[in-house]
């Protein structure tokens, strides 16, 4: 039986060896490494010969010799003919220790911040079933380095689905899978920059992170005017691309007027510019059939972008682009020439779509969100009649127009109610010339079912009644 400790070095360092796990040698190596690392064995210290230490520990001499050799190879010790084994001469690094953890912020009890669907309703069991079927069916080389556009199974399933459900003209060869919309926008930013584009027209209201992503690619953004017909695409000029949310403007909630759909496509044809169509929640329309994708009007000038982040869950990190001819290759190159999304999730989503599970899930989600929207509208009608719900009956959020000058105080009052909710102001482009509006952007898709009633109640409490 081996001893578990020895004393070595001039300062009498106790060396504890744990003869467990991978055995004595590994335990000895770790103990020595730790002794050097922590500074307990000072630089230059001569270690006992392997024979001496082995005898002291009651282990085979080779065990010690091997441990010494490992640590010489790693640079902790040095071995020189005639001077024995010593601790390497280098500044001792203080133990890294644990970096201070970020302080957990007090989490609000209710969350109506838009952008996230009801995560509690993610179809876990169906997803796992699809994962099993997909992995059973996958050829082994599907697990290798893949096509930078993504797995062909998913690109094919998406092309069929998008054509059927969204009127997109999609060829699997021109579908590029990406890790969420933001990744797609990064890739497109690189493509545009490489084409010489310097400025992208965006909507007066939107997510500032989109502007940041374009800025990271060296592109500046310029806001388009916004009025009751939606974004005024007649004003596009002097830019190389336009980023739009045609089916359901985010966050204002209106669809792009047909004349303006036509105008932006005409602009793209005339100038060779690109329209980037962010169809983030195109699956969710409650009062009528959703408006088809703008991309269908001109697939040579419109990049369609869709995502699983609203229809399933952001954590999947799966989104997709349908690109004009040529641009798919540019996007694949901008992705770095390798696939960037896990193959297993891609194959699972392909199976989820082709088996019909995706359609079933979207239908069920549509019903759930529609009920929430109806509950929101009717609660406001009775409890906050001064507050107007604007925008079409679609998506996972609604805009609540507030009396002028009250937005900030309502957001604060909501916080007092334990409710996280965003004012419209934070979505307004800093260069927008549109008159400022007081409003809340309410993400009614966000809470799990059990928290929805409480969230709605807290919202009503915070509103001017």
């Amino acid at each position: 039986m081996a001893k578990t400790w020895a004393t070595l070095g001039a300062d009498g360092v106790d060396l504890h060896v744990e003869p467990t796990g991978s055995g004595l040698r590994k335990g000895l190596t770790q103990a020595l490494r730790e002794a050097v690392r922590s500074g307990r064995l000072a630089p230059g210290t001569r270690l006992p010969s392997s024979r001496t230490l082995a005898a002291d520990l009651g282990v085979a001499r080779n065990t010690v010799a091997d441990a010494y050799a490992d640590l010489v190879a790693e640079g902790w010790l040095t071995a020189r003919q005639g001077s024995g084994t010593r601790v390497a001469e280098r500044t001792v690094v203080a133990p890294a220790g644990a970096a201070p953890r970020r302080r957990a912020r007090g989490r609000p009890a209710y969350d109506l911040v838009p952008g996230t669907p009801d995560l509690a309703s993610f179809p876990r069991a169906q997803w796992l079933k699809a994962a099993r079927r997909a992995l059973d069916a996958a050829p082994y080389d599907a697990l290798g380095y893949g096509d930078p556009r993504g797995r062909v199974e998913l690109r094919t399933a998406l092309a069929g689905y998008l054509s059927r459900a969204r009127g997109v003209r999609a060829d699997p060869e021109r579908v590029v899978v990406c890790a969420g919309f933001s990744h797609g926008l990064r890739v497109l930013g690189a493509v545009l920059r490489a084409r010489g584009v310097r400025t992208v027209a965006v909507e007066s209201y939107g997510l500032d992170v989109h502007g940041d992503l374009l800025a990271a690619a060296g592109l500046r953004t310029r806001p388009l005017p916004f009025d009751e017909l939606g974004t005024d695409t007649g004003e596009v000029s002097g830019v190389g691309a336009v980023l739009l949310t045609p089916a359901h403007q985010f966050p204002m909630g209106v669809p792009l007027h047909p004349d303006r759909r036509a105008a932006v496509v005409d602009w793209a044809r005339r100038t060779g510019g690109l329209v980037l169509e962010d169809d983030y929640d195109g699956e969710f329309r409650y009062d009528r059939q959703p408006v088809g994708a703008l991309q269908g009007l001109d697939p040579d000038h419109v990049v369609y972008l869709g995502t699983a982040s609203k229809s399933l869950a952001p954590g999947l990190r799966l989104a997709w682009m349908v690109l004009p001819p040529g641009a798919a290759e540019e996007a694949a190159a901008a992705k770095g020439g390798v696939d960037t999304c896990g193959v297993l999730d891609q194959l699972t989503l392909a199976e989820f779509i082709t088996s019909g599970a995706y359609d079933r899930h979207v239908r069920a989600a549509r019903l759930r969100y529609r009920r929430r929207r109806d509950a929101l509208v009717s609660a406001l009608a009775s409890r906050a009649p001064e507050v107007e719900v604007t925008g079409i009956a679609a998506g996972l959020h609604a805009v609540l127009r507030l009396p002028p000058g009250t937005e900030q105080s309502v957001v604060r009052a909501a916080a007092w109610q334990g409710l996280a909710v965003h004012g419209l102001t934070r979505y307004r482009h800093t260069e927008s010339t549109a008159p400022p509006l007081d409003a809340l952007v309410v993400g009614y898709g966000t809470p799990p079912d059990h928290a929805w009633a409480g969230a709605l109640d807290a919202l009503c409490e915070a509103l001017p009644s």
Copy 2:
């Protein structure tokens, strides 16, 4: 029962309506859209009134009116007071059709190109089991937009594993999950560039795609000398970072000499530079315990990079970095402030590691690859005694030194044998001053078990005997 077709427009376009799926309205909308899209209904054509078409098709008038409204909203039709519904005035887009498919290249029968493990041995059943456990245990908000560094469960599991198995000093707060090594290198390229770095020292031999990724971030590479002790890190100067494969130089197969490990760490401390440690196959050493990570010597100046691409499969697109204090935040920002890897695979890998399945898989893989390497060495000894296997017994590839001037002809002879294999020359940095060597880089990990014997035989046939 509705009719399934009508004739409309001046040119007598047959309109076929499929009263299936989502019903008549959707079928009618699609049929009309397709008629406009294909040009069969010319721009400006006035459509019959909704009453007339409804009567013709034997459907409710609202069905037609709704379909017209959809297509007006999408921009295919226009509706003006007094002029009825017309096909929009715009250039007709020819059907996109299918882009020409890439021609499938004649695939070689055997593949010994390095870089991919045996994909047939991916532990599918165990992975699915871990996925089920992970998804069962995941809180619902794990499926939301996540920490740009990756899921805490995986960062914690990796910190424990890397500390235990590779001697890495890892705190979960400083682990950043990325979508493969190449993604990690892109992120680090952006971090370095933002710090003002312009040049990165690299090894004389390596993957040119790494240079391309750094170049995309605006960084140039400069090769370090290479000799029998490995890369000469004593020559580092005038650069802001060094990219190395210390445990097992890729592709030369030697470990970095202890003095040179010390030298590069000293350089980093002296200059504030960063060492990027690419530990791509550190799990696989066959003759002795693997050399621990260089990062353990100085976690304040070394970025450790590991990957699941060799130990499990590249298709997972999961790799990890352990960064010096501060750099983790820079890397998270360079990732775009959002997680970029699917949460489900991250949670599954965390469960796979903590349950011990990862260790078991790596041990089994180590045994399989070791047997292959032994078979390679003994086959060469008897069938190609002039060919020397160099490098340590480790990893998934070996370097076969060839008689001078024969590399190209051996690669060609291999192709004739139906064998894909790379010569060493393609891994040599274009600015390297090292004398050119004739050699093959043989990836013995690549073939599935059933193809290994055939691949080895084809290799021996192609070698000078």
